[in-house]
Amino acid sequence: MSEASDTVLTTQDGRPLKASLRKALRREKMRAFLLIAPLLVFVIVTFVAPIVDMLLRSVENGIVEETLPETVQALASWDPSSGQIPDEAIFAALAADLKVAVAEKTHTRLGSRLNYEETGMSSLFRKTGRRVQRMEEGPYKEQFLKVDEDWGDLAVWQTLKRFSPPYTAGYYLAAVDAQQTPDGIKMKPEDERVYLLLFGRTLFLSIMITVSCLLLGYPIAFLLAALPLRTSNLLMILVLLPFWTSLLVRTSAWKVLLQQQGVINDFLVWVGVVGDANRLVMINNQTGTIIAMTHILLPFMILPLYSVMKTISPSYVRAAKSLGATDWTAFWRVYFPQSVPGIGAGAVLVFILAIGYYITPELVGGTSGIFISNRIAYHISSSLNWGLGAALGTMLLAAVLILFIVYDKIVGIDNVKLG
């Protein structure tokens, strides 16, 4: 009996050691948590919450039900494949809903929302809104048809019914060039497909930019790490100098250099390498985007590479050489493997920055060098189709995460070092 109780270790005040330890640890954890709490709250409020809010817009579709509650309810019994436009009861519900909506000025907002799905909805709602207050007490169907014959169009009602639920997959379908039709999900007509092409191009160009950053950045970082401090500091300033210059200034400078009447072409013509009539096209296409973005993102490759290379002890290479390795073997078998974590960090950094870039492609990309983010920016700030913008953004985020996981599987994420 007494032996059993003896096995439980207790502290001096008689409490079990484990509980006491746990308590002390909890206090410690609490303190640590409180220390990071302000940062955590800050990040959640200013970063996570807005992003989640924006991403939710890609499925959110409450506007139809909120603006036309009775119509949505009445439409539940209407069969969109019947080939018949709805009956008087539904028109009466629509009239009642629209009267409220016009008073609250929400009908035009619904019109522009539905116009993303069906061309003509915007003016249909604006026009009907102007007349609905003057409509006489039933029957409404004829009065609506008199305001605009589009109310007799089956497609209008099918769209209304399809987008009645508070959530929709419509934006995601649009983001992959598909659409919901009365006969199921179909690809959009050939002449309206653009997003998949742009996703593919964004990935391709980002990879090209990452590779060219690596090819240019590696020797510079190597030089930076190998040179004596005084010279390497000067070189470092040269690396950082463009970093401190405005992005727009750097992009415009590339225009001056690369355009057909620009500095490089002028020089080539003067030297006689190319004829005056065959000046090279180096901007407003993919080449322009790759050159300008490689320049802009180069420091993000050089800096992690440099900080990793700085930690590689020169004695390893000396040891390899003293054991008979050639310069190349010593570099390739001894130095390079140790710099791989820097390559990983730089490549991930450059790639992720590149994939979301839009200002530079917009200015130097012409038509073949623009990214998916240019369309996202367009939908957020110009067309106001925030749902589609959010869907495209979510897909881009998912693509980055998937690539990140793939990278982790192949190279290993713990093999990334920033210094």
């Binding site: 035009t108 909805m121 002449d191």
Partner: protein, 366 residues
């Protein structure tokens, strides 16, 4: 003691700054020469008369619709008056983000007593829109192109004529205007353009016409690009806003001339955001009444070559403030320039914008 002073000073400062904030008025515009002309013609004289008002400029007009929507959702509208193009004003009105105004009570009558609604006339395209200027999107061309053999383009269709006028062109990276011009030059009558453009075949026709020059086009997205491209000889002909071309030709003295044929008229003006406090609303309404009266609109034309939106302002347009040249012949509305003009159809584009833009982007990417 020290702490007490600090607190006192702090609260005094806070009081002072809220007092100052009451007189702040945030105007949103496009920046650059256009905003400078508004400052010189509207706000400078107004602040001179009302020294307690502090005008803050925000150069966000290009993203005004998106930002106003976000501000409205957050319930914190920080802008008092926003300069937007007419199509954006219509959208803001549709979304309930701009306030309807009554021209006859909110705006000043013309000096001869004509009511504001009559003075502005058709330009009041939306019940929320307070027009300021008429501008046009039109073409400028270089006058020193050897390959053209002394000819100069004087017809919109010369833009599509690569044989007579070889060289690169710059066009805006959006369907609006380009589709209309393409159809006009494909033989569609001016008053049928939008009817044709409504149909799939009509759209295909416009794209086919644009296809004939596609590989010779540099696409712009900012109004300053065409003037730069023309000045650098990157393009020989290009579309942009007429005021940009005016400053390229008259201020920078570049060998460029205007092609006014089939210029597309558009409007720019103010909207008052919804959700302002009564106090701010009263202040901004007073300012708008002043800033859009006959004399003020005529004054703006001293600094930039955009036509005043009031009929009564036209006779008052004088000379350029610095260059001293007569401004009337540089106005898009001048009879000599406006022989053949095209009116942008706001309502139509509100419907077809999303659809045609998708097709236009797909066409561009091909």
């Amino acid at each position: 003691m020290k702490l007490k002073t600090a607190i006192l000073a702090g609260s005094a400062l806070a009081l002072f700054s809220t007092a100052a904030m009451a007189a702040d008025m945030t105007l949103v515009s496009w920046g650059g020469a256009y905003q400078a002309s508004q400052k010189a013609a509207y706000t400078d004289p107004y602040v001179k008369m009302n020294p307690d008002i502090n005008v803050i400029w925000d150069e966000s007009s290009a993203e005004a619709v998106a930002k106003l929507r976000a501000m409205n959702e957050a319930g914190n509208v920080t802008w008092d008056l926003v300069d937007v193009v007419a199509s954006d004003a219509i959208r803001l009105c549709d979304e309930g983000l701009a306030m309807p105004i009554d021209p006859d009570t909110d705006l000043a009558a013309a000096p001869d007593g004509t009511s504001a609604s009559e003075d502005f006339g058709d330009l009041l395209v939306s019940e929320c829109f307070i027009p300021q200027i008429v501008y046009s999107t039109t073409f400028g061309y270089r006058t020193d192109v050897d390959e053209w053999g002394g000819k100069t383009p004087d017809d919109i269709c010369d833009v599509f004529d690569l044989e007579a006028f070889p060289g690169k062109r710059s066009l805006e990276k959006r369907p609006i205007n380009n589709m209309e011009w393409a159809l006009l030059c494909d033989g569609v009558a001016k008053d049928e353009v939008y009817d044709v453009l409504e149909t799939e075949e009509g759209q295909a026709r416009a794209f086919a016409k644009l296809d004939t020059i596609k590989d010779q086009v540099v696409w712009w997205s900012a109004g300053a690009e065409t003037p730069q491209l023309l000045a650098d000889k990157e393009v020989v002909i290009g579309s942009t806003y007429n005021g940009r071309l005016f400053s390229l030709i008259e201020e920078q003295k570049q060998p460029v001339a205007m092609l006014w044929d089939a210029q597309v008229f558009d409007l720019d003006g103010w909207i008052i955001p919804t959700g302002l406090s009564d106090e701010r609303l009263a202040a901004v309404k007073e300012f708008v009444k002043f800033a859009t009266d006959t004399q003020r609109l005529a004054d703006q034309a001293k600094y930039i070559s955009y036509g005043p939106a009031r009929k009564s302002s036209a006779p008052l347009v004088g000379k350029h403030a610095d260059l001293g040249i007569d401004m009337a012949p540089h106005m898009p509305t001048d009879p000599a320039n406006a022989k053949n003009t095209f009116l942008y159809n706001y309502e139509w584009w509100a419907d077809y914008r999303d659809d045609i833009d998708a097709k236009f982007q797909a066409w561009l990417a091909k």
